[in-house]
Symmetry: C2
Subunit: 328 residues, 2 copies
């Protein structure tokens, strides 16, 4: 299976490295970062290109753009791992559409296109008889989409409750464990590399809300938007509130929840019993699915990381290979 | 897809009821309990047969045996849900082999055949080009096998750690929460219907060890046996031991663990940090998979129950339908 890999940030380098290391039958024939591109129908020398990237900051020919790679390279599936643009979804939406026009499968870790243009992209994939997969967009390495599709096949999903933002969960864990203020815990998260210089995208609940939109549209196909999510962040939370919760054997977590029967689509800090499976520590992510037969199923794992995200992308690629090979 | 359903205990009735209730494209054409059988190539009237079973204690023709149904009915997949015999695996092993001889797929919730005769049964399935699936044998509704196969595809599984026996977990939870002795907690578990009159199969760790054998052989194909598991139960545990663990922010859980790199295959009470994802309360089951790319992934859910187990069986059936339809 031949791949065009677009994006050479942390995720792209992780995917490239794992594909080069493991004998999975995956070959990268096209590759682009933000300033260069390279292609070879017989397969690129990934270790060499990764070394070039490290040395020079780019890894291909500066005259070749990502879109040219997508439009000209010889590949079966596009791996789109450019950074998320939560406002426009571009340039990723354009990249994905260009691949669909060529009847290529698409695997992405990019939340922008899936949160902003899911219905349109799903329709294009279906009309062209190819796959659109995005396991890595929600909860990193945790195989949520596979569980919804295969593991819980036959179940009706009644509701979902998730801890989907590692930065917020780290801050809340530290506030509860050490009695830190929000500002102190945020500073610590920054020092650990868990929070951005401008943390508002995480701490105001926007990142979790985007993931909630992706999950909701995947499960119930409702076409909800970010503006439909009732969203409250953790930035106004006080140590007193956490202390009160702890006194009752509870704690506070930023919970993304979708409960269609109650018309609830919400991200907010919630008081939750400490022994509930959703209460995970540090930067872990967790998701509880409430179903009609299996009842509550909880999945826990790492929501970020280069190799962890590569795991989700490679899982999607192997699924496509397996599924479409058998079809052909 | 036509099914022969063998076994009409709690699990069999759950499967039959869910198939009758949901429009999944599954039709039961043969059915047997321990004393009777019934078949109809056009599909059986499940609600009527369930009512008969409730009223009379059997649901078919006393002259028809399970083996006759397996050998004569018109079906695509055998659903084998008779009770586990941990010594011989029979009559389930014989039932499964009879289905393979007829080139029928097999889905089972029965731990006996998978723990005792996995290699032989897997070879028969492969040689006949049919599926052998057993998601329900370990951790009930929790889709562990699907996660190993699809969700974590491409990962190397390095180790596994599981809370795989709900009875033990209930007893340990109650000992820790209320300071009960083992005997008091066991009595409570009996009153709640979580423990058998003879609890030794559960509390001595044998049930967890059987599930560990199933997981180990599934993941690493080593052909290990129950006698290879270093097994210690919870029946000698004192409230003092639990109190000491709790003083350190830890608790005790019966952990089944397989760590090939350390040659560890063990079921034993372990001291474990309370905030570890594996520490679940009551009768819940949990499994942490340690992998090379996704790192630690934990799955939590109900390990028993009629409808919960039906969820796992139906997931296996839909997987077979999807996979083999596309192949055909």
């Amino acid at each position: 299976m031949k791949l065009a890999l677009i994006g050479m940030g942390s995720v792209g380098r992780g995917v490239a490295g794992m594909i080069a290391k493991k004998d999975l039958g995956l070959t990268v024939t096209g590759l682009a970062d933000s300033t260069s591109g390279v292609m070879d129908p017989n397969g690129l020398d990934i270790p060499l290109l990764l070394a070039n990237k490290k040395k020079n900051g780019y890894c291909g020919n500066p005259d070749l753009t990502a879109l040219e790679i997508i439009n000209k390279a010889d590949y079966d599936a596009l791996v789109e791992v450019t950074p998320t643009n939560a406002q426009s979804g571009e340039p990723a939406i354009g990249y994905i559409k260009a691949a669909f026009v060529r009847k290529k499968h698409v695997v992405t870790s990019n939340k922008g296109p899936i949160a902003l243009a899911y219905r349109e992209l799903r329709a294009m994939a279906d009309n062209n008889g190819v796959a659109l997969r995005y396991e890595a967009t929600v909860a990193g390495a945790v195989p949520i989409m596979h569980t919804l599709e295969q593991g819980l096949a036959g179940n009706e999903i009644l509701a979902l409750y998730g801890v989907l933002n590692g930065t917020c969960n780290y801050i809340l864990t530290r506030m509860a464990a050490e009695g830190l203020t929000y500002e102190q815990a945020l500073m610590e998260a920054r020092e650990m590399g868990y929070a951005e210089a401008d943390p508002s995208y995480d701490v105001k609940g926007i990142d979790a809300a985007i993931k909630l939109v992706i999950l909701t549209n995947t499960i119930w196909g409702q076409g909800v938007r970010l503006s439909d999510v009732n969203c409250t962040g953790i930035d106004l939370l006080t140590p007193d509130a956490l202390r009160l919760a702890e006194d009752e054997g509870c704690t506070i977590r930023l919970i993304a929840e979708a409960i269609p029967r109650k018309h609830i689509l919400r991200v907010s800090p919630r008081i939750i019993e400490k022994n509930h499976p959703l209460v995970v520590d540090g930067t872990l992510n967790a998701l509880t699915l409430e179903t009609d037969m299996a009842k509550e199923i909880t999945l826990i794992g790492r929501g970020a990381g280069s190799i962890e995200t590569a795991s989700a992308i490679i899982g999607d690629l192997l699924f496509i290979r397996d599924r479409y090979d058998r079809r052909a």
